[in-house]
Amino acid sequence: MIKVEGLCLSVNKKKSTFRLVRDVNYSLEQGETLAIVGESGSGKSLITYALLGMLNHLEGLEGTVEAFGQKNILKASSKEIRRLRRNKIGYIPQNPRESLTPTLRIGSQLAEVVAAKTGKSRRSCRLISRNLLQPLGFSEPEKVLQMYPHQLSGGMCQRVAVAMAIASSPAAVVADEPTSSLDLLTKYEIIKVIKSAQEEQRFTLVLVTHDLDLAFKYCNKIAVVYGGRLFEMGTANELYVRPRHPYTRGLVRCFTGAGMANSGLHYIPGEPVSIYTQFTGCRYFNRCQMRLEICEVKEPPCVRTDGRRVACWLYGRDEGK
């Protein structure tokens, strides 16, 4: 249903070209859930922006994103993009309080979205809005429709954002760090709300997160991103039980705490290379415990191993020779 091939994004800065996203390939079937995980600034959000057609105005954009009957979203006109966003794809932003208009009541904002997506009258839109809020855990949806965003808690704002994203029964929903600003109880509440909506409507979910707990518990597939590159992609179970890429291994060790001292702390030593640094080899080279000579001079190819894709010379040595 979604097929991304050779997605690259480069920008020109100070007379040099920097590649922010490099050679990203993945495909998703209807109803699947993909978690894109990685450090902040690794390019997770940029990869999903391509799917939403938010990067189309940029010159350094290459590759193809085939989805929702469009041959290449990256080449789609703004009219086509609007149509896609209206009918086919929903977006749950990272900070819903900031994405809601502070001076409009929730009811007006929801009705506006429903009207744009269904083309129905204002009155029926209001009814649909109320029905949308009902299954999302609001005990008094009518009251919520009368409120302004500042009167709602973070979790309630997030649920309103979920209602907006699923209003048109989309084919796919992109959730950008939907739980990062929420407390633990609300976090699980929101993710359950999103998952139950997914079960009901069978949409494909792309979840951008740095929370491995969510990724392992609620997603079928996980893509690990580092320095704008997709380092490893496989099923959640595969990555948890047998991570292949040294970076994924480090992340899983940090998460599970395997092999660490009683203090309960573990981290990957070293610093990530800035995305604005010219680098010919693997971006993880300076932090990698299993690096080879070739890693410093040549970027590793993306190879298939154990039924998953890994971008590491440990698995692609033959090609490197």
Partner: protein, 249 residues
């Protein structure tokens, strides 16, 4: 002789000015923090964690109740001004807490400039702090936009530590960080506590983090103190709410 708490609050109450419903953001909070302790404040969003931390940091004054530092009541401008020199605050959103148009080294030097340190002293303290938080010297002339969120959080920590505070209050220091950066940050905070004797007050909505780092945890719910427990001891009388939070781990 009875040990005097470094920071002590009794019957702390706070309501935000202009709130129509006269709802109290904090009600009857009693808390004693001794020098060198690691205290965690746990609660869901809207429970009053940040409000309490702002009061403890001296940014807000309690509507009623007593706040004592080293046994002396904090009252009046001078007392608060002196108090603020001995306390530092690490904000939740590191990107919003730094000037994007200043280089990393300048950001860390800034509080020292305000405190009229000599140029050589500023350079040596700022470099020492940046090394302590593990920032590569090659990145010291970078701007915040060129760093990851985890790195900026550490720059903020270096800036906070440059003035040698006795108390460091961290508001959700890990919420924006991935697992690896989280581990690194936790280790630096423990190092500050053990080696520099800094008293840590850590606010978080994640019990797991607090149980790792702190041995005294205050649980807040809707502005009220639910529990205050020592994690090194048996706690069989915890409230239902605390148990619900702890069971999420």
């Amino acid at each position: 002789m009875k040990k005097v708490p470094l920071l002590s609050g009794s019957n702390l109450m706070f309501s935000y000015p202009g709130s129509r419903q006269k709802k109290k953001a904090l009600e009857d909070i009693d808390l004693d923090i001794f020098a060198g302790e690691k205290v965690g404040i746990l609660g869901a969003s809207g429970s009053g964690k940040t409000t309490l931390s702002l009061i403890l940091a001296g940014f807000e004054k309690p509507s009623s109740g007593l706040l004592l530092f080293n046994g002396n009541r904090l009252q009046g401008r001078k007392a608060y001004r002196d108090y603020r020199l001995r306390i530092q605050y690490l904000f939740q959103n590191p990107m919003g807490a730094v000037n994007r148009y200043r280089k990393i080294f300048e950001i860390v030097s800034e509080p020292l400039i305000y405190r009229k340190f000599k140029k050589e002293a500023i350079e040596s303290i700022a470099s020492e702090m940046l090394k302590m938080v593990g920032m590569d010297p090659l990145r010291w002339n970078d701007y915040p936009d060129q760093l990851s969120l985890g790195q900026i959080q550490r720059v903020c920590l270096a800036r906070a530590m440059s003035t040698g505070p006795e108390i460091l209050i961290c508001d959700e220091p890990f919420s924006a960080l991935d697992v690896s950066n989280r581990g690194k940050m936790e280790e630096i905070l423990l190092f500050l506590n053990v080696k520099h004797g800094v008293t840590l007050i850590i606010i978080s909505h994640e019990p797991k983090t607090l149980l790792h780092l702190c041995y005294k945890v205050l649980v807040l719910h809707e502005g009220k103190k639910v529990d205050l427990f020592d994690i090194t001891k048996e706690n069989d009388q915890l409230s239902e709410y605390t148990m619900k939070l702890l069971n999420q781990i």
